[in-house]
Symmetry: C2
């Protein structure tokens, strides 16, 4: 079964993940050979800065011309760990045109152009694997695409961004404010100098789009994902959450509508009960709940980022793609046959936790309660607290369409007894 | 890509799991067709009692002659959900001889004869998939075989038997004794009339053998797995565990030795800290920690048994095997190239929690401490408690080889100041 001609691998990008992939390919070469059935050889490494010293990588393999590397005619598999849209997109397309299968860790590109890339892979009869694009080392794409291929996934809810989880965990455990916790995350290397992609939820939204497409066998684009960042979550919100027996997490939530005819995809901060397994996901860890009709509730947990964990996912895909190559077969491609539409955020059914600053006089609660009722939103609990002629009112609603909830908040803002809406947060996981 | 000639499936066994498989194959036929690329047709159902009414199954498909069903010449895939060694083993072998790929949920058979079955599958160029054999619906075999194929797994620790977890969880939360908790589990259908396979750890040991083989790419037979049941765990043990900030779980633990040259596999009850994620696995749920060199610590959690969850795993395998069949390829077979030997339990390095009934007189602690020292076992903590001329001594050790620990206990029993060894339990997860 073993053949001796090696499969040749082009590594596109050699940053934190790429250098780890190259290192493991070298140190664990014998194991990879046994598990694949043929040796895999690092045949070229395309980089932007060729002068940078890369320990353990033969300088003769390094090139700045990724296109020429792909076109030289002997490459079997390309590993794309450049990230971002271009040049990654053009290079992956070039690879397929050259009959090269691709392993990618590129969530932004997959979320934006997954359909076109899958089509190019299929047209040329090649593989496109991307386990590393979502939740780092945690096996999630393969279990959802393959292990649950005979089941019906109804809901996915998870923490898919380590940076924001680290920040929120710090705020929860130390009482720190957002900025202080962000500064600590930056100092420790958990947040980038420009943390926008993480804290505004763009990174999580890209992963949500990819997971939603896989979960529901339909196409979900990045633009289809409702997105709210977590920069406005405050120490006061955490104090409110604690009073409710909750904590706050930035969640990606993908749901099939009750009638099964549409899906929703969203990323936003939310309160979840401390008893929920996602509440105890600490530091930069990721965890994803998957609810399927027959399987029930499954959870996958692990490191969601980092060089070595991401490399582990890349190499798992490399073994699979290399095995497929030897068998002259391909793995599962895009499955989007259900063509379920993605409904807007207003259709999502959820609960709200709303803090209002109100005038401390009789009749205010009645006025507020009437506003909720007029919008068809049922109140679960109200807590009223007076302080020097002002009062705060904390309302937790029952489940209602998000449109009705936001309509209620809009109307509350117009009441002259309501001085301000201090915070609004969804409540999930119950 | 879609073909219309259906792939024909023989269902061997139609109990709790089999009937659920048949139901989902019927109700979700269109989805399965889309995901596979061809329809799958239930072509025959082999049962022991043909007269039993099976809702939703065409009586014309039912037969008592499983061998004839496999040999009739048009079957592509067999699903074996009979369980036990025979006739399952002979039927699976017959299937391979007939060019039929097999999906099995049979942990006992895989643990005992996995190597021979894998060899038969490979000889005939067919697939043998068995995700459902370990931890029900939880994707575990595929993630370990495929997602982590580019990584090095060093440790697996998990709760892989739902019945015993239900019993231990009840004992923990209610203070009940073993028999009382077992009775409740039996009444609720979590334990079988004869609970031996579960409570004595045989079921968990079979799963441990399968997982160890996959994790370490070697052969681990059922006989290689050290096994202790949980029938002697008492309410007093839980009280001791609580004092240590621990609970008690029946764990399957698979480890690569520090020098990498051997592995160990064991199933026994153990104390684990309440802060460990496995401590909060409740009722009949399963959860498995996997520690890999690059990926770090991963956890997989979900329902470990039951008709629908197990059927979910079977159907995921059915989709994969059917796809392989259409591509005229096979999935990954047995990977046992490392040929790492399995070391005996005595080589395992762990910690002990030991409760001794001792005479309440001076010098006893010195005598006990000397015994530990003579066996090279270092003591972490000692708690001494006197009562009416008797005293109890609770010793928690540092990590030491299991052989040294059991040697110490043997020597302690011989001390005339030691009236008895009330309990011995390993401490894990720190």
């Amino acid at each position: 079964m073993m053949r001796t001609r090696p499969l040749k691998v082009a590594l596109l990008g050699c940053g934190v993940v790429g250098s780890e992939v190259a290192r493991i390919m070298t140190t664990h070469a014998d194991d990879l050979t046994q598990r694949i059935g043929a040796p895999v050889e690092l045949a070229g490494v395309a980089v932007r800065r060729p002068s940078k010293v890369r320990e353990g990588i033969d300088p003769a393999l390094v090139t700045t011309d990724a296109t020429a590397l792909l076109k030289r005619g002997d490459i079997d598999i390309a590993i794309e760990v450049i990230g971002g849209i271009e040049p990654a997109r053009t290079l992956i397309t070039t690879a397929f045109e050259q009959g090269i299968s691709v392993v990618s860790a590129n969530k932004a590109l997959l979320a934006q152009d997954g359909a076109a890339l899958h089509a190019a892979a299929e047209q040329h009869g090649r593989d496109l694997y991307y386990e590393a694009a979502v939740a780092g080392a945690i096996p999630l794409v393969r279990p959802m695409r393959e292990s649950l291929a005979g089941d019906k996934i109804n809901r996915v809810m998870g923490i898919v961004n380590g940076t924001t989880n680290f920040i929120l965990d710090k705020m929860d455990s130390t009482g720190a404010g957002y900025q202080e916790a962000l500064d600590e995350a930056t100092a420790l290397g958990y947040a980038e100098a420009d943390p926008t992609a993480d804290v505004e939820g763009y990174d999580a939204a890209a992963k949500a789009a990819i997971l939603a497409g896989i979960a529901f066998h339909t196409r979900v684009r990045l633009d289809d994902v409702y997105r709210e960042g977590m920069t406005e979550v405050s120490a006061a919100d955490f104090a409110s959450a604690k009073r409710m027996g909750c904590t706050i997490k930035l969640l990606a939530i993908l749901e099939r509508a009750a009638d099964g005819e549409s899906v929703t995809a969203r990323v936003h901060p939310a309160m979840i009960p401390l008893s929920h397994p996602l509440a105890s996901v600490r530091e930069a860890y990721n965890a994803v709940f998957v609810e399927a009709e027959a399987a029930g509730r499954l959870m996958f947990y692990g490191p969601g980022a980092g060089g070595a964990p991401t490399a582990s996912a890349v190499l798992g895909d490399l073994v699979a793609v290399a095995r497929n190559k030897l068998a002259e077969a391909t793995g599962p491609g895009e499955s989007a046959y259900t063509q379920l539409p993605v409904s807007p955020m207003g259709d999502v059914v959820t609960r709200y936790h709303i803090s209002l600053d109100v005038a401390d006089k009789p009749g205010v609660l009645a006025q507020v309660a009437t506003t909720f009722a007029e919008h068809g939103v049922s109140i679960d609990t109200v807590r009223q607290q007076g302080k020097d002629g002002e009062a705060s009112l904390v309302v937790v609603t029952h489940r209602a369409p998000d449109a009705a909830l936001s309509g209620t908040v809009e109307a509350l803002r117009k009441l002259d007894t309501v001085r301000g809406v201090a915070s609004i947060m969804r409540v999930e996981g119950e």
